[in-house]
Amino acid sequence: MQDLVVHRALLRLYPRSFRERRGGAVLELARAEAHRARGAGGVAASLVARTRSALDLLVNLPLAWRDAAGEHTHLRNVPMNDRTLEALALDTRLALRRLLRAPGFTAAAVLTLGIALGAATAVFGLVDQVMLRPLPYPHADRLVALWESEDGRDISVSWPNFEDWTARLNSFDQLAAYSRTTLTLTGAGDAARLRGLGVTANLLGTVGLEPHVGRWFGPAADRADGPAEVVLTHALWTERFGGDRAVLGRSLMLDGEPYQIVGVAPPGFRFPDGIVLISSDFFVPLGPLLGDERTDRNSHPGLYGLGRLRLETDLDMARAELDALSSALEAEHPDVNTGYRIRSEGALDVVVGDTGSTLLLVTIAVGLVLLVAAANVSGLFLARGWAREADTGVQLALGAGRTRLARQVIIESLLVGLGAAVAGVGTSWFALYAAAPILEGLPRAPAPHLDLRIAGFALVGALTVGVLVGVLPALRTPRGHALGVGDRSVASGRREGRLRDLLVAAEVALAVVLVVGATLLTRSLRAVEGLDAGIRTSDVLTFNVGLPEVPYDEPELAISFFGRLTAEMSSLPGVRAVGGVSVLPLSGSGSQSGIAPIGGGPDAGIPTDVAVVLPGYFEAMEIELMRGRLFDDNDRAGAGPVAVVDERLARTFFGDDDPVGQSVQGWGFDAIEIVGVVRHVKHYGVLQTSREQLYVPHAQRPFRRMHLVARTDSDPLGLVPATRERLSGLDPNVPLSSPSTMDERVARTLRGPRTAAILGSTMAALGALLSLVGVHALVAYAVSRRTREIGLRMALGASGGSVRSSMLLRTLRPALAGVAAGLAAAAVASRGLQAWIHGVSALDPASFLVAGGGLVVVILVAGAIPASRITRVDPVQALRSD
């Protein structure tokens, strides 16, 4: 702990004149005292000494300000401060004893606050791990992700553009690039598809890390004839090679080519942790991977930039330079760069992504829950204060100062806060543990753990809430002696009633806001789940297959391999349709190319999502054919190039005319004939914008890496073992990677709304529960206080039923008023929720009705329970009670 950090902080609150004149001396003396105590009694004594001098600083603060204001502090009249400290210690002991003597009250208060605090601490822990913690690289705050956008839509960078960035940008002292690649590892255990990154030589240096073993790539890595080297990630090194240093210098067979292992990255370094949504197993030089893309400015092959800002610049300044360069590049290469801008974002912000806004929502919700709990406990304290009015009256009559009594209430509430802090830390750990399945999809994989920051937050939060809770009851400490008059006075009764009513109304209103919010989020989730993506996602198996370049260097080999594979799969029991595609929908990525109608001018091309499909794809995904035909056996290599387009592209290029038979150009084809039109697919997700789409048969553009899809009768994943068998029957060196189902992929895209709905509902349930406890306590308390009145009324002939209902109505009025207020507040607040809800209006009447109505019912039930005890009141007993 930094030396006397608390003392320094307190000193900063002092008047400047005192601080400048005496500040140094005060700190020096505090240090000397702690040192002296340590010599006498060890670390504990030194800690006590530190605390005393800190408290001394605290207590003298107002007096120092009075001195500074020039008023005469009558040194004769100021009470001795050291005695004040003793009084404080005594009061604390007394408060503790009082709390322990009322275990029911204390337990209720500590639990209520503890649960709410636990939720708040858990949320803080989450926010800290995901958003506040810096990325684990040196200078992480200077790392910036760079990409391009075309007419507003994000795309990757082209290599020639990147070279211009490197040459002409001044804001960065390092600029690197990377792109995803997958290579099949053979010859070291089972064949496996490994995911990795092609990187420029300076990428790892940009991030600022040293290799764990060996070295990074040299500058030759950026050349087309760069070396066939590989750097392993620490995870891969330990899993596959047992962490053996002797692997350095050995060769790995990746895609049939030998790569020399030159180094291992530091542990925990799974770059880029979230910037690209996969983890990587290895790094290879980028240079050799760029083929034609090296010189084609129009080709954006999934390349992304990462820069490290110079010390003297910040992101805003850099962005100004990027804008200028964007305009320059547009002017210099109007045919390819028009409408392209350079986009940038801090690396941490990219990793956090949309989760930031979801977490914000959850933070607000948990804040409301905390307020409900605070109102609850404050009400508990108030009730206790009134119940002890006779006691207090005696104390006052005996001369206790009102300040002292009020201070005692605050001390009690602070102690409750401390207890709640302990309970809260435990609850938060448990909450994070229980919520782990929901949370594992979040970036930076938060895991339940305790550290000083979280515990510190719980403590600070608890003390703050503790003070807040105690303020109202402390202020209500009675002034004069209430002996004799006692708590039967009408005036005080009315006062206490009104305050209590206000608290309950506030609690209920907050709970209503929470419940309305949760209802809206849940209905929105349902609506989104029901949206049509253009494909039928149930019962579809997906997996990747990548053919290594050796021995599949001839296109016919790839064509025949996939032909045999799809045939084998079709013969499996339970398979209804099999196909394949180069880019899966709902995977978060796509491949774009400019497509234009034949004869259109240079501006006629639009960025289109292009893909290669294996026959059977459209059937397997149940993408409806709207015009023309799908691919058949005649569409093979050597025949005229054909394409199937989506209805959007048909409409964009040809309007209402029949596109079948027309031709378009692009993606390396001079002319492709359109043979069919299919339904549009929401490729990037039901809520995201999507582009025009064009499909080409595999036989005419034989990719070596394809995603296979199979529609099955039932459990898709059940087919995996059989499929694997067939695949290795075709070639044991080609592994089956990433088996999954389309439903799973859809679920992944809905993770954000789902997390928001689940967490929001949890908070709402918590808030509603807490406020109900408050309502219940209110009614029970009112009944117990009015026992005499009830007895009187019943003795005068009123039936138990009528007394009960009138009592119920009277005491529930504030709660019901709270519901009304809450609905109004929710109507205003829900406008802020607009960003998170889709398909449902922010003022959706059904949600409001359900929330409001539900809470009214539960309030009535909660209130009815104690009210039902009224009929059991014996009027005679009641009249005698005092």
Partner: protein, 117 residues
């Protein structure tokens, strides 16, 4: 510049002030040593906290009962290690307070002896 006041303006002295001034009667002291001396004078009952000490010292300097000596370290008053010296006015105030306490003590003692039977 402290205003010239008569000793009577300062009394009755707050007990803490009396102890502080008395601690300096035998010679100048600074910070930690001053705290130790006050503790000894009070029979072990009073150990001043740093903020209380310096706030009181600050006030006493302003009222003219104490003077700060320049620290050997860098000649700036108020730095850690600056010794404080009681002033003439301070001595007079202590004497006046002692006289007051003495008179009070004698009055109470005689009332005590008269009342006891």
């Amino acid at each position: 510049m402290p205003r010239r006041r008569s000793p009577e303006d300062h009394i009755p002295l707050h007990p803490r002030v009396l102890l502080l001034l008395s601690a300096l009667l035998e010679g100048p002291l600074h910070g930690a040593a001053l705290v130790d001396r006050v503790e000894a004078l009070s029979g072990g009952r009073l150990r001043l906290g740093p903020a209380t000490l310096y706030r009181t010292l600050d006030r006493l300097v302003r009222d003219g009962l104490l003077r700060e000596l320049e620290s050997e370290a860098d000649g700036t008053p108020g730095r850690p290690g600056t010794p404080y010296r009681i002033s003439i006015e301070g001595r007079e105030a202590v004497a006046a307070e002692l006289a007051r306490l003495d008179a009070l003590g004698r009055a109470v003692a005689s009332a005590l002896s008269r009342g006891g039977e």
